[in-house]
């Protein structure tokens, strides 16, 4: 049954490609990074990568569902900030007074005691937060299906609006409980904040469970099939008697609720809800993970397996770059995500284009030679630890030489084709 095996490989070519890329990244990092060569640091690294991947992975799944259904959800980052704020806000509102403390301005009142919370307090706060997230998703669905706003606009409004709302809310909540307006809430309960260290596996378990649930939804249920149909051809789906508006409601609700779940976990991880900076720009990480994982932004295409691998791949590369260049991972995040999204999608587009693909046609081609070599030089300069200017210049000039001759070669080939 060679044909079946071949078909299997073809169907999951994107997943196999990602697995190969992940192994490559692991191999290169293991060869050059000390962190991978020592059992103790390797364990730490593995834990940190697992936790970080899981945190992004949770809301990347939501982003993927919306993308598969033919939409886009730009609000993830703000929903993360908003839900983290709400979760901690509900907790301090519900938490008992700490009798040992007094408000500076009003001796009758006490600060909330968050060091050891009764189990029901985080539970209720979590349920309320997820409830609000469901309302946020439903509001998106209403704007999109009833008011007929484009998904981009509806969720863009949330992206800018919700963060602002969270920053306003946190001031009022803190005024009620602390007697002064603050822009952050910090919780002391060690059970909640332990996921940053000893309980690193909690986000991972949540992510795995969520992956299984969403995989079931997308590939084993009628609703899942209908989501693919909606993303593939909305009009045809509607004319097939599928309630497309309800499906969109479901998709945007899952999008908002997975973001909120991640928001709660991020807040616990950091121990402080700070809506002005939490989850800033994370929506793009989620969309990038989905796209690198093989989801098509025009809808109807994508798998849970691909999204998992896409998330893992992005996180691994960000970490490897940081390890290899001994720097903070968050500094590299944007650069790595940007480059990889371009690479992954270009790779998919160019597959099958063959060796005859012309990369640098016209004036734009010449300019691109300059842009690419300049970009390579600058990236080299900022990532080198010493002799930044010299190494950047060398790489830039070499790259320019190579790309320039490629461009010249293409023009010679084209002339030859014409002549023959």
């Amino acid at each position: 049954m060679r044909g079946e095996v071949a078909e299997y490989f073809f169907r999951f070519r994107n997943e196999f490609g990602l697995i190969a890329a992940i192994l490559l990244v692991l191999g290169v990092t293991a060869a050059f990074s000390e962190a991978y060569q020592n059992v103790f640091t390797l364990e730490l690294t593995a834990k940190a990568i697992s936790r970080d991947t899981a945190l992004v992975g949770i809301f990347a799944l939501g982003a993927a569902i919306v993308i598969i259904a033919g939409g886009i959800d730009l609000s993830a980052g703000s929903v993360i900030a908003f839900s983290g704020t709400l979760f901690f806000g509900f907790i301090i509102l519900l938490a008992p007074d700490d009798m040992a403390t007094r408000w500076p301005g009003d001796a009758e009142k006490h600060f909330p005691d968050t060091s050891q919370l009764a189990w029901w307090i985080p539970t209720v706060a979590f349920a309320l937060t997820m409830g609000v997230a469901f309302l946020v998703g439903s509001f998106h669905a209403w704007l999109i299906t009833v008011i007929r706003l484009p998904p981009f606009v509806a969720t863009l409004a949330s992206l800018v609006g919700l963060r602002s709302l969270a920053r306003l809310l946190i001031q009022d909540i803190t005024e009620i409980r602390y007697g002064q307006r603050q822009s952050t809430i910090t919780i002391g309960d060690e059970n909640l904040t332990s996921i940053s260290q000893s309980n690193w596996w909690i986000p991972c378990v949540i992510w795995i469970v969520l992956c299984i649930l969403i995989w079931m939804l997308l590939s084993r249920t009628v609703t899942g099939r209908h989501l693919y149909a909606l993303g593939g051809n909305e009009q045809a789906a509607q004319l097939s008697g599928i309630r497309t508006d309800r499906l969109k409601w479901l998709a945007y609700s899952i999008g908002a609720m997975t973001s909120a779940l991640a928001g709660v976990l991020y807040a616990c991880y950091i121990g402080t809800a700070s809506p002005s900076s939490d989850g800033m720009g994370y929506e793009l990480n989620a969309i990038a993970a989905a796209v690198v994982g093989g989801c098509s932004l025009s809808g109807g295409v994508g798998t849970v397996g691909g999204v998992i691998l896409g998330t893992l791949f992005l996180r691994l590369v960000i970490d490897s770059v940081a390890k290899l260049f001994k720097s903070q991972p968050d500094l590299f995040e944007g650069l790595v995500v940007g480059l990889l999204v371009v690479f992954a999608v270009a790779f998919n587009e160019l597959r099958g284009a063959g060796a005859k693909k012309v990369f640098f046609p016209h004036a734009l081609g010449w300019l691109s030679v300059l842009i690419l070599s300049g970009l390579l030089g600058v990236i080299t300069a900022v990532t080198s630890s010493e002799e930044k200017l010299r190494s950047g210049l060398i790489v830039g000039v070499v790259a320019f030489g190579v790309l320039f001759s490629k461009a010249v070669h293409e023009r010679v080939q084209a002339k030859r084709m014409l002549a023959s």
């Binding site: 009628v222 149909a229 593939g232 051809n233 097939s240 008697g241 599928i242 309630r243 109807g300 014409l418």
Partner: protein, 512 residues
């Protein structure tokens, strides 16, 4: 007509052993033929016979192939459509390539806009030249209106005018009449006749024998990528060409045994569909009719008469809420979503297969099972085995030719795709089947099969409401024919009294 057109010794186009292979399929095999100047050269063949591939090679869309061809004696190897344009070859595709939001003149000069001396766009000059071009075609099209507001027939004229303005003297037309009304077809043929007088060579691809035989000098028949035969029109007839195309006898619909309609399943009383912002105010106005079990009712009408809108309002898919009454088996119904119509036992096979019917990213199985999936699932979970059996059964029953049910739907021919969509709806076990121009763009053999299928379904007790842009088709399969004109019912004919003339007269009659 002038059959003994003097043909030059030098052919305008000459193909020599052109072969094109796609992975796994030989699309064309050693095609050799000549076309003479000013000739009307028809190319016939079933879907997948290689007509489009051949024309794509000639128009520079496909650049990798074996063999060679020459245009006006010059060995040609186009590296793109621009080269073909430079050689005077223009192609008018089945799907028109126009920007709907731009004006007619802007579309005509798209990519080679005229400019005034400041380097700014000179709309006035373009409109003037556009008017001259339409004058040459003796057609009245306003160059300033956006193309999206034109009817399909007029949009096609824009494409022809564009070819003229490119000074093309070889014009390839791929199924140009598939979306045209009878009067628009007549006008198109007047335009073609005029073009030939000025020496334009025309390569014409069509499924419709009537058109092929109207003007052709010669007819080339392709089958499975091979040229089966090259005939002079004067020495052949439609039946022979059709037989050559399919390579077998086509059984025309055998209606010796008349169908016996049963009780009324669908009754429509004073159905009106509002059209806000339009002078007429209504897309449909006061339509009343009944549909019985076991009968096929045809709906005739010119483009824009409201055929599609009628089916859509019955299916709960219209953009506005229709007024009036719809009774299903005597029960008054009001559908606001197709899912309600589906539950009430109505199925609609839409007119535009690609846009409104197919899910291109899904395979054959997923495309077929879609409407029935919810009913065969348990607890919302898809039952893979049951789904597979259900699909295999319908594939078998409808004779859908496919290499398995997990191949992409796009790998099937048009006719088989259409059967998949009909199969999708048959699985819902409907009592009323609405078919909106189901044979559009599919080949003769598949059409005959669809007619037989409709007949069989009808005899099994289904009620079918059918629209078609081809009158002979409606006459052949319908028990009764309703005629729409400008959204109103302008005639109703039984099978015995219906003729093409009567229907056309009713369709063109102004009832407003």
């Amino acid at each position: 007509m002038n059959d003994a057109r003097p043909s030059n010794a030098n052919p305008v186009i000459s193909f020599q052993g052109v072969t094109k292979e796609f992975p796994g399929v030989i699309a064309l095999q050693g095609i050799t033929f000549d076309v003479h100047e000013g000739e009307f050269f028809s190319i016939c063949g079933e879907n997948g016979a290689g007509k489009s591939t051949l024309m794509k090679i000639l128009s520079g869309v496909i650049t990798q192939y074996e063999g060679h061809f020459s245009v006006r004696g010059d060995q040609s190897r186009f590296s793109g459509t621009r080269d073909a344009e430079r050689a005077g070859i223009a192609i008018i595709h089945q799907e028109l390539n126009l920007v709907e939001q731009l004006s007619v003149a802007a579309n005509l000069f798209l990519g080679r806009e005229k400019r005034n001396r400041w380097g700014l766009i000179d709309d006035w000059a373009m409109e003037r030249e556009a008017r001259e071009l339409f004058g040459q075609l003796e057609c009245d099209v306003d160059p300033r209106v956006p193309v999206g507001r034109l009817r399909v027939g007029d949009q096609q004229l824009v494409e022809i005018a564009k070819a003229l303005s490119l000074r093309a003297d070889i014009l390839i037309m791929d199924e140009p009449t598939s979306a045209l009304t009878e009067s628009e077809v007549a006008r198109l043929f007047r335009v073609i006749a005029r073009l030939r007088e000025s020496g334009v060579t025309i390569l014409y691809i069509s499924h419709k024998m009537e058109e092929v035989f109207r003007l052709s000098d010669r007819i080339m028949v392709l089958r499975d990528g091979q040229m089966v035969s090259l005939l002079k029109r004067s020495e052949t007839n439609a039946q022979q060409v059709t037989q050559l195309m399919v390579g077998r006898e086509i059984a025309t619909l055998d209606c010796s045994e008349p169908r016996r309609p049963g009780e009324v399943v669908l009754e429509v009383k004073n159905l009106s569909l509002p059209w806000p912002g339009h002078v007429r105010g209504w897309r449909l106005k006061d339509i009343s009719f009944a549909l019985r079990r076991g009968e096929i009712v045809g709906v005739a009408g010119l483009m824009g008469a409201g055929r599609t809108e009628l089916l859509e309002s019955l299916f709960g898919a219209s953009s506005q809420v229709p007024e009036g009454e719809i009774l299903i088996r005597g029960k008054r119904m009001k559908f606001t979503h197709p899912s309600q119509a589906k539950d009430a036992g109505i199925a609609l096979v839409t007119e535009d297969r690609k846009r409104l019917g197919l899910f291109a990213q899904m395979n054959v199985r997923e495309n077929i099972s879609l409407c029935r999936l919810a009913k065969t699932s348990s607890g919302g979970m898809i039952q893979g085995g049951r789904e597979g059996r259900m699909v295999a059964e319908i594939v078998d029953q409808l004779g859908i030719r496919t290499a398995g049910t997990s191949v992409p739907i796009t790998s099937l021919s048009g006719g088989n795709q259409q059967k998949c969509i009909i199969g999708r709806w048959l699985l819902t076990e409907p009592q009323i089947l609405l078919l909106d121009d189901p044979t559009r763009g599919i080949d003769v053999g598949a059409k005959a099969e669809l007619y037989r299928l409709m007949d069989r379904l009808c005899r099994d007790g289904m009620a079918i409401l059918l629209t078609s842009s081809e009158l002979p088709e409606l006459l052949a399969v319908s028990d009764r024919i309703l005629v729409l004109s400008e959204g109103r019912l302008s005639g109703e004919f039984s099978r015995s009294e219906a003729t093409e003339e009567k229907i056309l007269t009713a369709a063109m009659q102004s009832v407003g």
